[in-house]
Symmetry: C2
Subunit: 205 residues, 2 copies
DNA sequence: AATAATTTTAATCATTTGATTAAATATTTT
DNA sequence: AAAATATTTAATCAAATGATTAAAATTATT
């Protein structure tokens, strides 16, 4: 096996293990020994490849975050789709994505809270406001005279209703769900209904 | 100062410091020394009064959680108010409450994820489903034939749209807000609009 | 094949951190 | 006031943890 090829494999194994451990336990509770064990590697390799726990975390966090918002841009900048279609695609895309990685949102929210700087350069006002989605949203809101709603508030509603079920899952399970109707059914229903609810908000009854 | 009176003061000081440190840093990142310093107390008093960091955390977490949902019960069981009024009250009550303690939701969500057992005994299916609010919600949803929405999904939407702005604040600030329109304005607008949006969902356009 | 460079391992370090202890101080009871 | 009880403090412990080191093993270069 060539040097470079091996490099990549080991590095990737560690990063993948780090992603798993950091995402499930959070930065402070994750021990470097957990990560090494998860990766099946010697503890020292962690520092050999990434210098420190903190550096490794930063890399994983930024990759996680970019992974999370990578889809959003392509959807938002598409000039072929209507506002309604964009919302439908966004909802389906993220509900599926987060179903596969349900720990991701809480991890990202905690990370951003602990270190808000990381968002800068990855996502900002410009990217949102230059998007075709934002223009379509503004246009549709302007049609509705009475409810003078800030487009940001609509965006918050979209994100919150997509993301919250995942970060609140343990609570939802305890408070609301019986055995039959499991969490997945709930999500499937939300895939259908969320776009309807959101369009109602935008159109104003 | 009497023995008992002093007891309460010291204990309360530690608990208050613990609440602050745990809520802002999370369990793992909070050091007992931080808490002792915040309380202006000797480190050993922590163990003298609460045996361990974990015990202290449990107490603070349960109190936080109960504090958080204490309001919900009284609002939900009130037979004098309409569904719409309940939602208006719920929204205003929690937006005000969380404005005063914006770290609380993320703390609770992390705690419940780390230890889902704690919810049991504090809140459960029974409490929700026996409430007058739940009956009113079911009744209103049944009027709407086409959208066969689970009442739980409506409840998730209510909670998510109230809570998410607080847990996503650092992200919202970076992505969406310019200097003028600050976070507080956003919240005030949401106080007015959230009940409208929710009622639209329930009535089905 | 011999040498050089890279990667991996086992052992160890230094700090941090939750917890304890024994003595000192303060408070309550008699 | 004396004795008993409770609270507080300073010092210390033991375990956990991030990091380092020097040697061993592996891979690449000549």
């Amino acid at each position: 096996m060539s040097k470079k090829a091996k490099d990549i494999t080991t590095e990737e194994k560690i990063k993948e293990a780090a992603r798993k451990i950091f995402t499930s336990k959070g930065y402070a509770a994750a021990r470097t020994r957990d990560i090494a064990e998860e990766a099946g590697m010697n503890l020292a390799l962690l520092n050999y490849y990434f210098r420190s726990k903190e550096k490794l975390f930063e890399i994983v966090m930024i990759e996680n975050f970019m992974h999370f918002i990578s889809g959003i841009k392509t959807i938002m900048y598409n000039e072929e789709t209507s506002l309604k279609e964009k919302i439908q695609i966004l909802v389906s895309f993220y509900i599926d994505k987060l179903s596969a990685q349900p720990d991701l949102p809480l991890f990202i929210l905690n990370s951003v809270k602990a270190n808000p700087k990381v968002i800068k350069g990855i996502f900002n006002k410009q990217i949102l406001q230059k998007s075709y989605f934002f223009k379509q949203l503004q246009q549709e809101l302007s049609k509705n005279k009475n409810a003078t709603s800030n487009p940001i508030n609509i965006l918050i509603n979209i994100l919150s209703m997509i993301i919250f079920p995942f970060i609140g899952q343990p609570m939802i399970n305890e408070i609301g769900l019986s055995k039959k109707e499991d969490f997945n059914n709930l999500l499937q229903e939300r895939k259908k209904l969320l776009p309807i609810w959101i369009m109602q908000m935008i159109k104003g009854k």
